[in-house]
Amino acid sequence: MTTRRTFEILLGLLPIALVLGAWQALSASGLAPPSLLPAPHAVFARLVEQLGHPSFLRHAATTLWRLFAGFGIAVVIGVTAGVAATGSRTVEALLKPVVRVLAPVPKIALYPAFILILGFEHASKIALVAADATFPILLATYQGTSAVEPKLVWSALAAGTPRRKALFTVVLPAALPSVLTGCRIGLVISCIVVFLAEMITSADGLGHLLVYAARSFETVDMFVPLITISLLGLSLNAGFNALQRRLLIGFPEQG
């Protein structure tokens, strides 16, 4: 079994190695000039160099701040609205059609409106991140809370817990696996959206660095912010997974 496991891990590393190998071969063979496709070692050397650079880190910090501000707003709105929709028939009837209409709308199209209302600075980007991340969190919370075993709620109500309190002390914790999954999806979406917003209009942040490098045809510097944001997304995703596992000790295994 363990040898099979190692074999599968090695097999999984193969395509990644193939991609890197093809990249290296393309740039080494001279088929692709360095101005179009820089060698992988040049990109990674530059990445390491940049990570020690205060100005690069400042851009990354700006991106992170926008990301977490938007994500935080999305969590608060998404979880509250999701729980409220489960708790009240009226809220559910009001919210469901609105979500049905708004969820498939590409939120990035709202970005110009956010710019016009909130300006070019942080606020419009944070609003866009929040708009994009809210829906997966809301849907996951709603689906999770409405699937909670009703007997749990009945017991709490029979024991004298007020209905509203039971919603937050019984229903929400019981729906935690689903809520956290929604949050994890929302987090990766936030990561992607904040970068795109910065690429479209910005004077700082990682997305701006990519566009800036593209304008001056500094190919190596185009790859660096892109790899940084992807690594950021990967590590946030992994970190959230670890957190989820810690918080969900005792819950049945999720498919």
Binding site: R100, L139, A214
Partner: protein, 261 residues
């Protein structure tokens, strides 16, 4: 009361649209800033944009690119996902690579791909293809993995060969789950389409949006947003119709997949 109203198909979303427009109108009147024109003013711009030959051609061009990228992604992603679901080795081969690509903002590849393929259709279509592929692969994989083994055994016992089992048993059985991925993919296709055009700023509906913004035609900006919104909603409704027609036998667990947004 609310239950009976909800029973009329299409009515709740329609009411929701009216509600949202009313909210917008009220907010615009309260805040009274030039950046937020009232709803009726923006909606009055709609006929002007939809009547303009150039804009309509731009929008149709965008949709053509999106359709092409979307179709190519389905053709490539569904077989890969099904193969992953039926073979542990194939799954082990692709999974780490897909997990690594998952958090890469696909539309952000636009400037790099533009260096290689130019600003034309090819780079935009490729970006859309990349954006759509991942969710479709993922859901096809999950769908194929969950196929009832007994179905496959019965088919095998009746002498159906492996390739035929894949197309005649696995594919239909996984279809409801595949549709979840396709629906997510369709929304992503629209997002990548608009974003890539906002970044490349050369043609398409994303370009109209930012050109109007640059020229301070705020009504036109909002009207274009409404058009994109209607496109998103209409495509989603269309796909949902197709789903219930093709796989109406499988009621979805949830009306909307979490990954949709």
């Amino acid at each position: 009361m609310s239950v009976r109203l909800a029973a009329v198909p299409g009515l709740p979303p329609l009411l929701a649209c009216c509600g949202l427009l009313a909210l917008w109108e009220i907010a615009a009147r309260i805040f009274d800033i030039s950046g937020l024109p009232p709803a009726h003013q923006a909606l009055r711009e709609l006929p002007a944009i939809l009547g303009d030959r150039g804009s309509v051609l731009n929008i149709l061009d965008s949709l053509r690119r999106m359709g092409l990228g979307f179709a190519l992604a389905l053709l490539a992603a569904i077989p890969v996902g099904l193969a992953m679901g039926r073979s542990r080795l194939v799954a082990a081969f692709f999974n780490p690579l897909l997990m690594t690509i998952y958090p890469v903002p696909k539309a952000a590849l636009m400037p790099i791909i533009m260096l290689w393929l130019g600003v034309g259709d090819a780079s935009k279509t490729l970006v859309i293809f990349l954006g759509v592929s991942l969710p479709v692969i993922y859901h096809s994989y999950q769908g194929a993995r969950a196929v009832e083994e007994k179905l496959l055994w019965s088919a095998a016992a009746m002498g159906m060969a492996a390739p035929r089992r894949l197309t005649h048993v696995v594919l239909p059985a996984a279809l409801p789950e595949i549709f979840v991925g396709v629906r997510t993919g369709l929304v992503l296709a629209l997002i990548t389409m608009v974003t890539s055009e906002m970044i490349a700023r050369q043609a398409g509906i994303g370009n109209i949006l930012f050109n109007s913004l640059d020229m301070a035609l705020y009504d036109a900006v909002y009207a274009t947003i409404v058009i994109v919104g209607i496109l998103g909603f209409a495509l989603d409704v269309g796909l949902e119709r197709l789903r219930s027609w093709l796989v109406g036998w499988a009621t979805p667990v949830h009306e909307m997949a979490v990954g949709t947004a």
